[in-house]
Symmetry: C2
Subunit: 273 residues, 2 copies
């Protein structure tokens, strides 16, 4: 029996998953969160399924030590490559960001043409296509890897001529095939949402899996009777942040994403888990 007042575990390769944390904080504000960002081994996007699964399993083991009641894989690449395998290894309910995003995309499209942008790993896995077609076999899904979006977002070039130019190169082929729905299939991409929106034009709906994931998490907790029922006095321990590398950048970046003061992130040796 899980403890209703236990925290929700959320993990990502680094800082991108904080866009999901932000949505969870907003949509279920009475929950504790334990976040782990694998800053020593970031990024995950261009690494193999085997490596990502190994890393995700170590993080699962760490989150188990934190006695979390649910786990959110707040990284599209880990959701694509590792979730199916590691969720079998635990009783803790787990959700990724891909299924919630796929569901909304399949409900949003009118012309049946959906684009997915993400890391090489996420796009090569074709996982969005798989889930979207399970829900609606008539739809066509085209993926496009955008490997420079993460470093550009991490450098803070969220609105910048360089990001515009790179986005044009990546997105032109999706515009050419007349998609009407585009999934932001990497947790960094909400940061450059305005740039993507400008280039895609206002006839294309952008799907942000972070938002949908927080909504599904809330439903999952309600369904399993796991919503926190004593929200008062969560105090300083409400949100806790762990990283595998003591990067000053994590704090700076984290505070720019979630307007909640992240005063400290504790460094752990993730390879030991």
């Amino acid at each position: 029996m899980m403890n209703k007042n236990a925290p929700i575990g959320v993990f990502d390769s680094g800082v991108g998953g904080l866009t999901v944390v932000k949505e969870i904080m907003s949509q279920i504000p009475d929950e504790r969160i334990v976040y782990f960002g694998d800053t020593a081994r970031v990024p995950y996007g261009n690494k193999s399924k085997e490596t990502i699964t190994k890393f995700s399993r170590q993080i699962l083991h760490f989150l188990q030590t934190q006695e979390v009641k649910a786990i959110v894989v707040a990284c599209n690449t880990a959701s694509a490559y590792a979730l199916d395998e590691i969720e079998k290894e635990t009783d803790i309910p787990m959700i990724g960001v891909v299924k919630p995003g796929a569901k909304v995309a399949s409900e949003t499209t009118k012309n049946g043409r959906i684009g997915v942008i993400g890391t090489e790993g996420t796009v090569n896995s074709k996982i969005y296509s798989k889930y979207i077609k399970e829900l609606n076999p008539e739809v066509s899904v085209v993926g496009k890897a955008c490997p420079l979006f993460v470093p550009l977002a991490e450098e803070g070039l969220w609105q910048d001529p360089v990001t515009d130019e790179i986005a044009k190169r990546y997105l032109t082929e999706l515009i050419d095939i007349d998609i009407d729905t585009l999934v932001l299939g990497c947790t960094h991409y909400p940061l450059i949402r305005d740039t993507v929106a400008k280039i895609m034009g206002n006839k294309v709906s952008l799907v942000n899996p972070a938002y949908e994931t927080a909504r599904e998490l809330k439903e999952l907790l309600a369904e399993k009777d796991l919503l926190n029922d004593t929200p008062a006095n969560l105090g300083d321990n409400k949100y806790r942040f762990f990283v595998s590398d003591a990067s000053e950048k994590f704090k700076v970046f984290a505070n720019s994403i979630i307007k909640y003061g992240i005063l400290s992130a504790k460094t752990i040796n993730i390879e030991e888990y």
Copy 2:
């Protein structure tokens, strides 16, 4: 007593160190090489000293199992953060890329103003400044971190308007202070040398530590009587490549840097060392 016919160990966070391998192949063609690229944990440039030292120590342990006769730290960040510490832990002679680059820079400058471009780690460590000033205290050294150069180089945008634009932003402050010598303080940067040269103009000399490192390695081996004395029949085993992540990209990228067919790179679990 080291074996003269043993291989030279070379390591880097990923593929950048292959620019050093290329120079070693060219300058001392009769030597065996064992290369390790930490593709599962790349990049190193924005991670902490502690993490980079831990990773470098694991790689040292792996290279020891390969019975190498010398080790080249073909990564500026690892040379800056880890070399001083890990070289104390072994009898195998080790050299990094920073000291050779610093030496040539101090010999090259005429006006006493040197620029160093590199990752955040390398630039924040101020290690080039330290070594250059040891050789010539009169010189002033200004570092500039260029975090987007590695992803741009890895995406193959070696000559591209976007790389030009980013390079202009990074390099303007070095042009403004009238440096006459610029150290390419990251093993990826020789790939975008033409872009950097174009923006700096022909009055600025570019120093490529990869070239200098291979030269110093040759001197070191000669001095210690470790040059291979039976170069015939090195065969298929002459150059061996190991990675921590089985990325197809490594092979593609590696083959674009060194015009030697890298047919295979063996994946090892570096965390076990």
